[in-house]
Symmetry: C2
Subunit: 414 residues, 2 copies
Amino acid sequence: MVDIEQANAKAVERMMEARPVLVGVAKAIEVIPGMHPNLLLHAGPPVTWDRMAGPVKGAVFGALIFEGKAKNAEEAEALVQAGKVEFAPCHHHDAVGPMAGVISPSMMVYIVENKTHGNRAYSGLNEGRGKVLRMGAYSPEVIAKMQWMNEVLGPVLDSAIKEGDGVDIRTLLAKALHMGDDGHNRLDAASLQYTNILAPNIVRVTKEKNTAAEIIRFLGDNALSILNPVMAGCKTMTLAGHNVEGSTIVTVMARNGTDFGIRVSGLGDQWFTGPAGHVKALYFPGFTDKDANPDIGDSTITETAGIGGFAMAAAPAIVTFISGTPKDAINTTLDMYEITFAEHKYFTIPQLDFRGTPTGIDIRKVVEKGMLPRVNTGVAHKDPGIGQVGAGVVTPPMNIFEDALVAFAEKYGF
Amino acid sequence: MVDIEQANAKAVERMMEARPVLVGVAKAIEVIPGMHPNLLLHAGPPVTWDRMAGPVKGAVFGALIFEGKAKNAEEAEALVQAGKVEFAPCHHHDAVGPMAGVISPSMMVYIVENKTHGNRAYSGLNEGRGKVLRMGAYSPEVIAKMQWMNEVLGPVLDSAIKEGDGVDIRTLLAKALHMGDDGHNRLDAASLQYTNILAPNIVRVTKEKNTAAEIIRFLGDNALSILNPVMAGCKTMTLAGHNVEGSTIVTVMARNGTDFGIRVSGLGDQWFTGPAGHVKALYFPGFTDKDANPDIGDSTITETAGIGGFAMAAAPAIVTFISGTPKDAINTTLDMYEITFAEHKYFTIPQLDFRGTPTGIDIRKVVEKGMLPRVNTGVAHKDPGIGQVGAGVVTPPMNIFEDALVAFAEKYGF
């Protein structure tokens, strides 16, 4: 009979000992395993076109326009309807994408390598806030920015990253949690660190100094510039803890805007899915919760790795963005200790006397205590073409943990 | 009869409404009022050579070597003994200096202008940690770095600052308090912000890209790079609240390593002084409190303006550097509300539900409650030529507040 405690200890130890380092930037088709010219990756568990959420459809339109395969949304939709486009979750290809999470073959992606165990993960370049592809916008200025990111930003980032020893994501996050970040929705300090680490290298590797200045400004002005490498870093950590025989630890939480899905370390690549939740949010001026798409994106990989909503106690100022009070932020983290296996060895929270963040969601505890993982997230408009409308907090549906526990009992014969 | 409450409200309102902006860098002799070729400024209240602390003497030796007036410490001391050097507090010239705080005529200084009331203040460029002039070190590598700062760094900073709209110190500090900084000893987030704001401009104004990269790296690697502009910013704020008839608010707290001195808004330029305290500190490896010089530096201008030790609740991670627990940090801030007049309008503490920092030390409350202002500070070696040995917390002597209150009663006839 399998020793679940021992299995979980191994899974979580591997997650915590993973040391993700950003090592470069390249075109998705050149580096993402299994990427091919007709494939588009998206956030969350698998989903068919007819059930696909508005912002994912918007990002698909944008990606097909960006790839030069369609001139507009109508042409893009016709391609999809004609069966010329294949879809797969980012997670099926060791990748992660915030919000819609669409990655197309020509897009530049970050490459993050776990130096402890050798595995890699991938994520696109962050566009900043506002009208952006990941929120389902696909207007000409969105596409133009994507092109600049691919042609100018990406190659410079690749050279700048390689000019140094790469960017140690675990160290950067550990510092950021001492600087008021949660590691998911609030990454102000981490993004500043990131810009600071790369800026001198960007200057050295860029021919035109105006281009160097523009790139440094673009990274420095975007409080989420480090989000995508952080997500890929968390993916390498949770991948390192995946496929441990007998472990009840969650290694993927992801949403496609329609469904919320999880994977469990001891249950291989099976998804357990249920309806994506409604985000309790602060809305930007002019929007209400009627505009909101349900919960969406792979960014819940941060909570899966022990940061984000789980580390909110470290980030009291985040409540100005997602609603609530600093006390709520503390309580969220305290609650999450109830459903996790360990306290993180490297991610600590000064406000809780440097206690490690709650790490390694145990499906047994979630079900026994009836307490769900807490996630903080951005909110996209439910229709394609619009963009972000707010940010807030949300939980997954309970059934996915129950279903996973049933599957676990069946597989391991409890 | 003067209305003290009204006077204090006016003094503190002026302090809070001051909006310091970093506007440039220039040689001290070109911009500091009253600077002349034989004058050296130092931290704290006035002090004569025979009572001058070791680190100040070390910085004086270094400054005279830097100015080309002496080849070594012996020649520098001979110049002083021969009466060829004049000394004055930085505060007598609207300047502030951390630790020894020595400013010589040729040194490049930051110029900070309070855009609300128009007054200016000045401070040197920050050298980073370790063997540095401000800690009393004066070896050839210390002098070489000073020369690089004067010849390379200073002119580039001046152009980079002027390339934009300057650097808004109040906005930067307000953000930093939401990112785990206290605004005095912990300025990690503020220094990152500072580097990020200037980096693109540095790239544009610098001819050689290796020089630009070197300068960005120098600023970005120094978690105190913004300390000196912050201090000058706080000086412009407290200056704006100075000389309000009938006010019992402290507008200067400063130490020269021998004496701790204060000035009070309603008592003009009179100093009230007592012995500088022993810092309760965490020491760097190899040093103990036997090596420590007493409390030193003008950096207490931050606490005078409502940040630093007074905002420690915002900076729980600072305890890894200065000793204590996060709870002590919270309690320090809570205590300081007992002896201050107001809660800051722009500097808020997320951990205390965004309460404004305790601002405007009232000498009446200090004496009535027997509670002293709390300061966190670096510790210099007591001998010239060595440098920093630790960091910790300290309080001023009580007599200076009592003496000030007696003087206030005499002047205003209570």
